[in-house]
Point group: none
Chain length 221, copies 2
């Protein structure tokens, strides 16, 4: 447990209601008072985002678009705009739920739990298993056919992210953003370099190259 929730909301009263209610329910909260801050505060550790629409600097739809471009994190829009058009616009941006203000904190909590319950296996398991490969995430071990393969930090993260998203192509930039961070200034070729070493260590054709796009680990058949 101990889920981090990012709340992007400029209304102080609502911030304070959420603070009381959600912290009591055991969530760790991260607040942002405008769109730019919301985007800046978002990271891989966040399990859910609560997003207002009318925000200073960048509005909720914009924030949603930026976050969605790099993550499938659940997003709940919490806003005074109750009209159908805004709602549909929200859902078009792949949000998970839309709650018009005024809202009931109890119901918000229920909805959050309903959504979090549906989350995919990725972060609940301590282990990732793929073909004859086993990753022990807590212990930072990787086994190939039962024998341990020692990976460096970067190799480990690379493999982890790709195994958590089997079937999805990652561009080098996406991998850089997720492993090195969006503000890291490194050559894009660094990804190739680590991937090469990873492939050599794993001695199996797990990672496919999609020329002109990036890399992918195929879904198991």
């Amino acid at each position: 447990m101990n889920e981090k929730v990012l709340i992007v909301e400029d209304d102080f009263d609502i911030q304070s209601i959420l603070k009381n209610y959600l912290e009591d329910a055991g969530y760790q909260l991260v607040f942002a008072a405008d769109g730019v801050e919301g985007i800046a505060r978002f990271n891989e550790k966040i399990s859910l985002v609560i997003l207002d629409i009318m925000l200073p600097k960048i509005d909720g739809f914009g924030v949603c678009e930026v976050i969605r471009s790099k993550s499938d994190v659940p997003i709940i829009m919490l806003t005074a705009l109750a009209d159908e058009k805004s709602q549909l616009k929200g859902y078009a941006g792949k949000i998970d739920d839309y709650i018009p203000k005024p809202f009931s904190a109890k119901i918000l909590l229920c909805k959050m739990e309903a959504i979090l319950r549906r989350r995919c296996a990725s972060d609940e398991g301590e282990q990732l298993i793929y073909k004859n490969l086993k990753m022990d995430l807590t212990g930072h071990h990787v086994f190939c056919d039962g024998t341990e393969v020692v990976l460096t930090q970067k190799e480990f993260e690379l493999l982890k992210i790709m195994l958590e998203n089997k079937g999805k192509v990652f561009t080098r930039q996406m991998l850089l953003d997720r492993i090195w961070g969006i503000d890291a200034y490194v050559e894009e070729r660094i990804v190739d370099s680590h991937l090469k070493n990873l492939r050599k260590k794993l001695s199996g054709s797990y990672i496919k190259t999609i020329r002109g796009v990036g890399y992918r680990i195929d879904v198991e058949k």
Copy 2:
């Protein structure tokens, strides 16, 4: 694709609204007019349940409890009882969403899609389907009759743009602008060239030539 939805609802008008709207959206519907029938009609093939609360014989909460005892299928309650207490009771039974009547069919559809998107197993990513052709955009795969066809990047983009705009004629210049960028300086014939290769790989007459104008993929009948 082709998801089965179980609708447990005794109001004939709502049955008929849902029938029109959801069938158009490509869902396969199974109707039940009371709680007992709802439980009887439920099976492993059902991807989602839409549940009224006030039902003959067994009420929605009861049906929910029975279904939840054997399955994690997503459940949406759709009911006239808008009070908070009923909603909380619903969420306590591990439903996924609660929509008070009167409801907007469009929003129901959005919510259904948001919930289905979150499902663990069959998380296929974004897809474009046309006749016996399937494009998996997240995975950068193309399947023709189930077998994979490997496309180069330009071929992939060409097919993607045309499939996203079925029925629209693209001039070579339009395709150049969208794929190569408006400032690219390349021969217009490059489009023909890639299109030829694409046609050969797909082995089916998907892409029509509009002489003197450009190319088009017809809308499906």
